[in-house]
């Protein structure tokens, strides 16, 4: 059925945005209550203790949404009781896993013009506590993707964060932590004492089942779409596909949004299963997509060079030299001074750690020794389009 060109199936697209936090998280009530119990003291007797909680679950199991929703609610409750409690959410990967940058983002909440350099992360931690003391603030610091912090700073950073109150015997304990991660395995590198301090309270978020995903999709469809435009069958298919993607609700919601976009693009009045099928073939796994959003400018440029090479070359791997050449061309296009080889090599390692690219040594058959870079997880065309859009020039 065709409608005039300005018809859209959406009522409010923002309800499908990755940053939208619903006022109630379906099928996470138990975990929400658990969080409330763990932090009950922070409203009833603030400063008496500092809490550390880990939230563990795969991608799209609602970790970030749950933490943020909890943050909003507990701040409201604290305000009603006259407690100056603040929830600060920091994504460690976006802060390059640096304790310094993480603490800086936390302190900027209270001092927006705090100087950006000139001190160490240890000093910054003390400064943060000083600010909290002076303004009588209690903070729940949520460290999202804490793996990045452990990966880049080792055990030290978490040790410092968990032991920050030890030298302040009689002072109120102002800094509580929520660590958000995908698997507990990444904490193996920590020393025993930090591990035991952190792993006292763990909240596991299991993968969503098909029925649970269906419930979530139902609610989002009502919020985001005009009434009766999303067919039940379409929601069924999305729930099934997302269940196969490890019960990933974020994938489900993105698929729903994209299916709506296909319906709009085809001037359809409803989001049919065919729209979902077309959308599903264009959505690449969400893990890489998130990681790509938080890359730095030159990492994005490097990746764009790779994507463009892979788009045209029918090869599984590019050599480091070929990748560097492609990167330089992209730099020229964007008017950026290219980074040197060592820096690029670090980028490749980061991209590989984030599962965006795959690397291997060149081995026999190639002269000399070089790193081979593959792009097995993400379609090159899609990556090119996405990066070009984010970098602000038209598709090349």
């Amino acid at each position: 059925m065709y409608m005039s060109s300005y018809f859209t199936v959406f009522k409010d697209e923002s309800k499908l945005d990755i940053n939208y936090i619903p006022m109630r998280l379906l099928h996470r009530e138990y975990q929400f209550n658990l969080l409330n119990k763990f932090f009950q003291f922070s409203i009833e007797s603030p400063g008496k203790m500092a809490q550390r909680v880990l939230m563990v679950g795969k991608v799209g199991t609602g970790k970030t949404a749950l933490a943020k929703l909890f943050g909003l609610k507990i701040m409201q409750m604290a305000q009603e009781k006259g407690v100056n409690l603040r929830y600060v959410h920091v994504n460690c990967r976006e802060r390059r896993g640096s304790l310094f940058m993480i603490l800086q983002q936390a302190i900027l909440n209270f001092y927006p013009n705090f100087p950006k350099r000139g001190y160490s992360s240890e000093e910054l931690l003390q400064m943060l506590l000083q600010v909290l003391d002076e303004q009588n603030i209690f903070v729940i610091l949520a460290l999202d993707e804490i793996e990045a912090l452990v990966q880049s700073e080792g055990a030290d950073a978490l040790y410092k964060l968990t032991r920050v109150h030890e030298s302040r015997l009689k002072a109120p304990q102002r800094l509580s932590l929520i660590g958000i991660l995908r698997e507990l395995g990444c904490l193996e590198v920590l020393d025993e004492s930090t591990k035991s301090t952190l792993q006292r309270n763990i909240i596991f978020l299991e993968e969503y089942s098909k029925n649970e995903l269906r419930d979530i999709l139902n609610v989002r469809a009502v919020l985001a779409f005009r009434s009766d435009v999303v067919l039940d069958e379409s929601l069924d298919i999305i729930a099934e596909l997302a269940e196969r993607e490890n019960g990933n609700a974020r994938y489900a919601i993105e698929l729903l949004w994209r299916a709506g976009k296909y319906a709009d693009a085809s001037n359809l009045q409803e989001v049919s299963p065919e729209c979902v099928r077309r959308a599903s073939s264009s959505v690449y796994p969400i893990v890489q997509k998130n990681a790509i959003f938080s890359l730095g400018l030159h990492e994005k440029l490097f990746l764009l060079g790779l994507a463009r090479q892979f788009k045209h070359a029918k090869k599984a791997y590019l050599t480091m030299g070929e990748a560097e050449d492609a990167y330089r061309i992209v730099c020229e296009e964007y008017g950026e001074k290219p980074r040197g080889h060592t820096q690029l090599w670090k980028y490749v390692n980061n991209l590989s750690a984030a599962d965006i690219v795959e690397t291997q040594g060149s081995g026999s058959g190639l002269r000399g020794k070089t790193t081979l870079i593959g792009l097995p997880y993400v379609p090159a065309e899609e990556l090119d389009r996405e990066l070009s859009r984010r970098l602000g020039l038209n598709d090349g």
Binding site: N113, E123, M127, V131
Partner: protein, 90 residues
């Protein structure tokens, strides 16, 4: 301190304007935004603090300055600068 002593320096007026407009800043940032060098900025800030117009908080080695809103002269300076800037924008 006499009013002419405070306003006799372009650098001091720039610093006061910055603190009125932005609120709190550390010395290096004040120097950068005012286009002054660090030593001059530091010198002016010490002068202004003695006059009671600004005050600072220390975080380790870092000093963050702001207008001393408890001081009647500082309040008057703030009103003057805000009124002036508003007229500039019209």
């Amino acid at each position: 301190m006499m009013v002419e002593e405070v306003f006799s320096s372009k650098g001091r007026v720039k610093i006061l304007r910055l603190l009125v407009e932005i609120g709190e800043l550390n010395i290096s940032e004040i120097a950068r935004r005012a286009g002054l060098n660090y030593a001059t900025t530091n010198h002016h800030l010490i002068f202004l603090e003695k006059a009671g117009l600004v005050c600072h908080k220390s975080f380790g080695r870092i000093r963050i300055y702001r207008l001393n809103e408890d001081n009647a002269h500082a309040k008057a300076v703030k009103m003057l600068i805000e009124g002036w800037v508003m007229n500039e924008k019209r």
